[in-house]
Amino acid sequence: MEQNMVTLKINDIPVTVPEGTSVLEAARSAGIKVPSLCYLKGVNEIGACRICVVEVKGAKSLVASCVYPVSEGMEVQTNTEKVRHSRQLTLELILSNHRMDCLTCARNAHCELRELAAELGIDAVRYANDELLPRIEDSAPHLVRDNSKCVLCRRCTAVCRTTQEVGVIGPNDRGFATHIGCAFDRDLAEVDCVSCGQCIVACPTGALSEKDDTAKVWAALNDPAKHVVVGPAPSVRVTLGECFGLPIGANVEGKMVTALRRLGFDRVFDVDNGADFTIMEEGAEFLERIQEGGALPMITSCSPGWIRYCEQHHPDMLPHLSTCKSPQQMFGSLVKSYYAEKMGIDPKDIVVVSVMPCTAKKYEVRREEQRMANGCMPVDVSITTRELARMIQRAGLLFDHLPEGQFDPMLGLSTGASVIFGASGGVMEAALRTVVETLTGGEMAPLEFREVRGMKGIKEAVYELPGRTVRVCAASGLHNAKMVLDGVKNGTMQYDFIEFMACPGGCINGGGQPLQPAIVRSFTDIPALRAAALYQQDEAMPIRKSHENPVLQTVYQDYLGKPGGHKAHELLHCTYVPQKRYRTENRF
C-alpha cells in the first residue's frame, strides 16, 4: 500500500514525510531536534509536558509537536524566541516540584531532565522548592520509586498499561496532589506487578530505579570465608558496553569477563551454560509431551516476569508451562551441587551472583519453590547490567582498556544456541536446533530457524518434522503474550510450542539493561541492534547446538544422568502455582 506523503516547511526547510507523522518526528527526520520530555516514541505520545511546543503558522497558540500531525503546506518554526521562552518557563515550573539531589541521585549522568535543563539553558530555578522530602516506596524486590523526583510524564504508566498490559500503576488523585502509584496507593509488593522493570527504563528521571544490590556483592567479595561465583546472562555481553560509551550492539564479552575477574570473583562462569541446560531439559520435556500426549502447547519458563504474569492472570495455563527452571536458576543449582561437589566446597559457603538484563530476576531468586534439597537458594544475589557497570566504575576499571578474558571452563563454555537466548525467538530457535535433530536422527537438520527471529511482537512458524507438524510461536511483551493466550484459549491460534518473554524484543530489551534517552528511539531500533550482535556471535561460534556442548555432555555423564531424568528433575525443575492478583480479601 502506498502511503500518502505530505510536504511542509520546518524552519523554512522543506520536509516530506508520510501523512499522519507528528511534527516532532517530521522535524527530527530533517535533523531538527525538538526537545521533549514526556514523549516516548510508540509508547507515550500524549502532549502532556509541553516541552516540545513549536509555532505553527496560523495556529492560535503554541502546539505540542509530539501530538500535532503534519499537513500539506504547513509552516513550522521550532526555535523562535517565543518557543524558547515557553519551554524554559515550563521546565522551570516542572523543576519547581522536583527534588534536585542530582549529585547523589541514582540517575545522575543518565537523567533526561537534567540534560534537558542544560539544553534549554536553565541557569537558575526561580521557583525551587528546597523543602521537598524523599517519597520512597521500596516494597518490591526489584524497584525503588521516589515520587519527589517524578515529573508526571506518564511514560511508566503507558509502558505498564499498553506495552505490558499489566497496568498496576497510574496517576492517582488530582491537581497538585497528583502522583503515580498503585490503586488505593497500595505498595507495589501488594499488587500484581510482574517486576519487568520496563517502567524504569522508560523513566526520564531518578523517580524510578532498580533496587541496588551491589552492596551485597561487595560484602560477599570482601568476605574471605565465601567462595563467590558469578555468571552473566547471554544478553549482558552485548549491552554492557553502552554503559561505557560504546555503540549499541557492541559485544564486550571478553572485557566483561576480565572485569568480573578483576572485581574479585573466585569463578567467572557463564549463564549461557544454564541456557544450554535449559534447552536439554526443555527439549526432552517437549519431546515427551508430544510423544506421550502431555499438555500442549508447551510454554517456555525462562522469563520470571512472564511466569508471574501467567500465575496471576492466566492460572488456567499453568499446566502448559515448562517445568524447567530458568537458565539463571539452573546455573545456580548446578554451581551449588555439581560444582560444589567437584571442588569439595560446602554449598553454604558459596555465594552465587548473577548479572542479568532483568529486574524480575531479583524477584525470582527469592521464590521459595526454587529452593534446593540441600536448603540453599540457587542464586544469592541478582544484579542488573546497570549495577555491574556501577561496580566496574567503582572499582576504577577502565573498561575499554581491559584485555579480553575467558570464562572459567567448568561451567563457562557456551554455544551459539545459548547466546541467542537473549533475543526474542532465541529460546525457540535453540530448542528447535536440538529437538529437530533428535527427531530426524541428526541428518539434514537445519541450523537456523529465521522465521522466529526479529523484533516483531508475535512470530509464528510451522515445521514439518518426521511424523509430525510442529507449530511454534515466539511472542514478546506481555500485551502480545496476552493476545496469543487469548487466541489459544478461543481456538483461533494453535501451537505446539510457545516462547514468551515479558519484555518487548526479549532480554536484550530487559528492564535491567542500560538506559538510553528517549530521543535515541526516534532514530534507532535499540533492541534490534543488540539482537543483531547476538546472532553475529552465534554465527561465529564453533558449536551452535546445546547438545553438542562438551560441558553438558560431561555434567550429564558424570552427574545428572539423562535429560529429564530423576536427578535432573530434582535440580533443574520446579512447579508454579496460581497467585492472587488483588491482596484484599474479596469474594469475587
Partner: protein
Amino acid sequence: MPNVKTVVPYSGTEEQEARLRAVIEAHKGQPGATMPVLQAAQEIFGYLPEEVQIMVAEGLDIPLSEVYGVASFYAQFTLNPKGKYQISLCLGTACYVKGASDVLAAVEKHLGIRSGAITPDGKFSLDACRCIGACGLAPVMMINNDVYGRLTPDLVGGILEKYD
C-alpha cells in the same frame, strides 16, 4: 483534597452486587464505560470501596489502577461511606474568612480523621462543603439536619459529644 482511603469494612449485599453486575454487563465493551459504571456503582453502594472497584475492573477488563485513577480524580466520587452522623463543614468564602479552617482542624483533631473520611466505628463522616446559604451565621457546619453557627474551635468538642 486527595481522596482518603476508608477504614470501614466492606458490607455490600448480594443484591447490590447483582445490580452492579447488571450495569457492568450493559456497558461492557463500550468505549468510555468507566465513568457511567462508577457513577452507577456509587449510587448502588453509596461510595466506591476497593471491593467494588475490583468488581468494576474485572467486569470491564481494565486495570484496577485505571479505575482508581478515575475514582480518585473526580470530586463526585467518594471512597468513603457516609457515617451515621454526616458532618458538612462550610468552607465557602464567608465562613472561610471567619476562621472555618481552624474549626475544620478542630473537628479533624477531635475525630482523628481527615476531611473526606469516616471514623472506624462508622459514626461520623466529615466533609468540607461549599456555601450552604447561612453566611450570617459563619462559620457554619451541619450534622445531618442540625445547623451550628458562629463556631469557634473550642465549641467543637461539646457539639460532637451530643451525638451518640
